[in-house]
Amino acid sequence: MKILVCISNVPDTTTKIKFTADGKQFDATGVQWIINPWDELALTRALELKEASNGLIDNVTVINVGPKETEITIRKGLAVGADNAVRIDANPTDAYAVAFELAKYIETHPYDLILVGIESSDYNGNAVGGMLAELLNIPNVSAVSGIELKDGKFEVVREIDGGKQILSLPTPLIAVVQKGIAKEPRIASMRGVMAARTKPFETVAAVGASPLTEYVHFELPQPKGKCKMIPADQLDELIHVLHQEIKAI
């Protein structure tokens, strides 16, 4: 069996967000790029599944739709343990265009399990996994916080409002994963980083999908007013605020 992990290249989550003066573009000056946090957890879980499968799962591939600069991020995926990597050479304009490029590749390179993070931490789209499943016409489960391989099928934990469901699904399957799927992302060892240099890395030409949406203007929120400090020994003042202004009590 083979697992494909779709990874997105995003600004580090501590990045102070800035846009160009005309508000038309994200200002990437000085930005550190990382694997999207949910995709990183997905990769961790994929590697755990492979290791626990007694050879049944023999390959974990990472794939990204992005320009050449994203190779640094993709190689991090190889350094933590993915067997090989694929980059589809296109600018990731919108979720549909990304899903379309991925679908075209997967149609000729099938996988048993495809893992996709629930959203990207930059554009918060929540869309690629579901779109990819529809384009490939295969089942998908969203909000997955656990996954196990059992008797050739996947047992999946899906978070629902107020609880969780344990589900069984056949392959091929797209699992759209969230927090809980793995505990901590893996850190690449020096040996892993060295090994990543010689692992198979394929660059594929894009088919050229058209985006269905576009960002026309970006804005930063209005700065917040100053925090009003209340001395710890004057909690009656806070009670007054809770009662009169916030109306919480």
């Binding site: 930059d122 969203s142 949406t213």
Partner: protein
């Protein structure tokens, strides 16, 4: 031309997010001068369906089938696409929750419709279709344009509000093929969380960070939450350490919340945590470090030890509530 909303229910009942979606659709239909149709799949209670008219829903299609008991994205998308065809929908609305995210993305790909998720306001323009959404987990907003005739939107929770717009409700029947063979999701078990108030529904959230020192001290958080009728939450290190379950983690990679009041206790205010709470109407922070960045995000702050401040605060609130 019409607006179609997917109205989710939980064991037959609707929540505030469903009424918010109806209120939003009502306002949007006025702006677009078109009709709204609501779609309810599964066994929602009749009195609950009638309640949707209080918030402005004029047309509802209720479909029930055994196959609707478990969410299967392929089957539900197929049904949605058929209903969309019947009512000639060109705008599709979902709540920005797990179900809404799952169905909106599949439906958008099916219909080749532009998907804009997590919208926070009515459209700035209808033709071309331009609407605002949050990105970078609330650290920014953007105007997004759809280059398609059909659009699919998910509405951020608490972004619009719930409004009374009483109308008469037409119950419309629709002849839909339920292709059960599409449903490959088999339910093995359901486990409910035991929290008194769900984080996703809560008007008030009391949240703890590493300043609580350990899971054994969580009683002060729970007692304050109890007296306020609030949900409990935590920061990422707390859930990573296993002090609290991961579904309580609020922040960039956990849950994004937008309650009326967020009480941050012993939370330093990492940028990723603040991003997840920035849509809260009021933030109160209690932390013994006067320099903690959480005070930059908060409306009200107390410099003090949570283990001393929280029990005192709980006691005083109890006295007021008496």
């Amino acid at each position: 031309m019409s607006v179609l909303i997917y109205i989710e229910h939980w064991d037959g009942k609707f929540k505030k997010s469903s009424y918010e979606l109806v209120s939003y659709a009502y306002a949007m239909a006025k702006q677009m001068q078109t009709n709204v149709y609501g779609l309810v799949l599964g066994n929602a209670e009749a009195s609950e369906i009638d309640k949707l008219a209080e918030y402005g829903l004029e047309n509802v299609i209720c479909l029930n089938h055994n196959a609707f008991q478990v969410l299967d994205n392929q089957l539900f998308t197929d049904v949605l696409a058929q209903v969309a065809e019947k009512v000639q929908a060109n705008v599709f609305l979902f709540a920005h929750n797990n179900t809404g995210k799952a169905l909106s993305s599949r439906l958008a790909a099916r219909l080749k419709a532009g998907l804009i998720s997590g919208v926070v306001a009515l459209p700035d323009s209808i033709s071309p279709f331009i609407i605002r959404k949050k990105l970078f987990t609330g650290k920014a907003t953007a105007q997004v344009k759809a280059n398609t005739e059909k659009v699919v939107l998910t509405l951020s929770q608490n972004a619009f509000g719930v409004f009374d717009n009483k109308v008469a409700l037409n119950k419309i029947s629709a002849d839909i093929q339920v292709n059960e063979a599409l449903a490959q999701t088999k339910l093995l078990d359901t486990q409910k969380f035991t929290a008194k108030v769900l984080l996703t529904d809560a008007e008030i959230v009391v949240s703890g960070g590493r300043g609580l020192k350990g899971p054994e001290n969580w009683g002060v958080i729970e007692e304050l939450a109890d007296v306020l009728g609030a949900a409990t939450a935590c920061t990422r290190p707390v859930s990573d350490e296993g002090w609290r379950p991961h579904h309580e983690h609020v922040g960039q990679t956990g849950k994004i919340v937008a309650p009326m009041l967020y009480v941050a206790c012993g939370i330093s205010g990492a940028i990723q945590h603040v991003a997840g709470i920035s849509s809260s109407k009021y933030i109160i922070a209690i932390n013994k470090d006067a320099e903690a960045p959480i005070f930059e995000a908060a409306d009200y702050g107390i410099v003090g030890d949570v283990m001393q401040v929280l029990p005192e605060l709980t006691k005083k609130i109890k006295e007021v509530k008496k």
